[in-house]
Structures are given as structure tokens and as C-alpha cells.
């Protein structure tokens, strides 16, 4: 499934410079070095971390999108940075588990 298709399923787009990107699997985590080491290329990454380092990790680990769970806010200047760096950032109003379950159904 493509990242932009998530918008039809209750996910909100904060930054969507590369919406056509395919999602392949999901990784969940807030500790950046865990995500760096364990996430796979093209995973959707679910987190509640919302600082600028998240954008660097998403760029370098090459995840297909960042999904902020629990309606976590991202400051506007970070959203701007994400757009510039070509990083997709979406938001879910649900907790991490429910967000993951929903994604699992969608990408199955």
C-alpha cells in the first residue's frame, strides 16, 4: 500500500512530499538507535517521539513514513524540515497498539 492511501483510513498527513512511496512492513519504537538498527527499509515507523532527530533517523534508515501515534504534535518548523528532507509524516489519534493493528489490516 502507498503512504498516501493511509489518508483514506483516518490518518492525517503533516508532511507528504513522497506520498507515492510503498509501505513494506512496520516498525515501532522511540529509542532512536533501536530504530536505526532494527527498522527495515520502507517500513512505516510508529513512534511518539517528535523531535528533529526523528526526521534524521527516518531519512537515514530510509523508512517509508513516520506515523506519530496518540495525536502527538509536531512543531511547524519540524514539519517544514520534514517536507524539505522528503520525509513523510502522518498522525494517528489512536494509541500505538491500535494504530499498529489498523496498519496490519491495511497492509496485509
Amino acid at each position: 500500500m502507498r503512504v498516501e492511501e493511509l489518508l483514506e483510513h483516518g490518518f492525517e498527513a503533516l508532511s507528504l512530499p513522497d506520498g507515492g512511496r510503498e509501505i513494506d512492513g512496520v516498525y515501532i519504537g522511540d529509542l532512536l538507535s533501536w530504530v536505526m538498527g532494527r527498522a527495515q527499509m520502507d517500513n512505516a515507523w510508529i513512534t511518539i517521539m517528535n523531535n528533529v532527530n526523528v526526521i534524521a533517523v527516518a531519512t537515514l534508515a530510509d523508512t517509508s513514513c513516520v506515523i506519530l501515534a496518540e495525536d502527538v504534535e509536531m512543531p511547524e518548523e519540524l514539519v517544514e524540515t520534514a517536507r524539505e528532507k522528503g520525509v513523510n509524516v502522518l498522525r494517528s489519534s489512536q494509541p500505538i497498539f491500535e494504530t499498529a493493528v489498523k496498519l496490519a489490516g491495511l497492509i496485509a
Binding site: 529509542l31 532512536l32 538507535s33 532527530n53 534524521a56 537515514l60 534508515a61
Partner: protein, 140 residues
């Protein structure tokens, strides 16, 4: 055989909200060179972890990346406190990061293990009170 390509970066120790700039730039450069996505990703991850470590633990340093026909070499050099016990530092989960750094998502103690995992060779030269130089290679 063509000359190796080299890139040099100064890594600012003050500003770790913008840390990762050198790694991000290297990723771009390697893409332009047409290296495979897997190689680019491995270099990016290893270099980012080393770059962040210099910012968090050593007040910055320099990064030099060399691309030859056989490998990509990353040399990270700092004049920080050095690593007293390298074997311990290499263990997953070992970290001396402060609470304020942990609140940013760092401090899992996974950076050095990731660097080892994603490269074909890694050498740590460190002297307490003098600094640390880490040399990593990813074979092409």
C-alpha cells in the same frame, strides 16, 4: 583506476538538534554516485551513529569519507574524553548518556553495536583524555 573521492565535514558539538547533517549529506553524495540503496543505507546508519556520538559524548569532531572502487571508508575523529573501556562500550545497552539526552531518544546503548553490525570492519582508537578515532569500512 580513478582517484578516490573524499568528503570532509566538521561536526558541531554544540548543536545536537541539527546533528546528522554530515550523514545526510553523505547519503545524498552516495546517491549521486549511483551506489546501491543497501550500501547507502549501511553507510548512512553507521555514520549517523558515529556522528551523534561525537556530538553527545565528545563535543563534536570531524568526519572524513572516502569512496574508492572497493569500499567506502568513514573516519570519525574527536578530541573528547575518550572511551575508558571499549569492550563495555560495545555492549548493547551500555550508555553513559544523561537524562536530558535520553529524553531526546538517545542513550539506548545501541549506537556502537549498530556501527559494527552495518559495516564490514570497524576500528576504535581511543585514549582517555585525548580523544577517539573510529574507522569503518563498507565494502562495495
Amino acid at each position: 583506476m580513478s582517484d578516490p573521492l573524499v568528503f570532509h565535514f566538521d561536526v558541531d558539538g554544540e548543536n545536537f538538534t541539527s546533528a546528522g547533517q554530515a550523514s545526510t549529506q553523505v547519503k545524498k553524495n552516495l546517491r549521486q554516485l549511483g551506489l546501491s540503496p543497501d550500501i547507502i543505507r549501511r553507510v548512512s546508519i553507521a555514520m549517523y551513529e558515529g556522528e551523534i556520538n561525537m556530538v553527545i559524548h565528545a563535543d563534536g569532531g570531524t568526519a572524513d569519507v572516502m569512496v574508492t572502487e572497493e569500499y567506502v571508508e568513514i573516519v570519525l575523529k574527536d578530541h573528547g574524553p575518550g572511551i575508558p573501556n571499549v569492550e563495555q562500550a560495545m555492549q548493547e545497552g551500555f550508555s553513559t548518556a544523561t537524562d536530558s539526552i535520553r529524553s531526546l531518544g538517545f542513550g539506548a546503548g545501541m549506537g556502537l553495536p549498530n556501527m559494527k553490525r552495518y559495516t564490514d570492519s570497524m576500528k576504535i582508537d581511543t585514549v582517555v583524555g585525548v580523544g577517539t578515532t573510529i574507522t569503518m569500512r563498507v565494502n562495495l
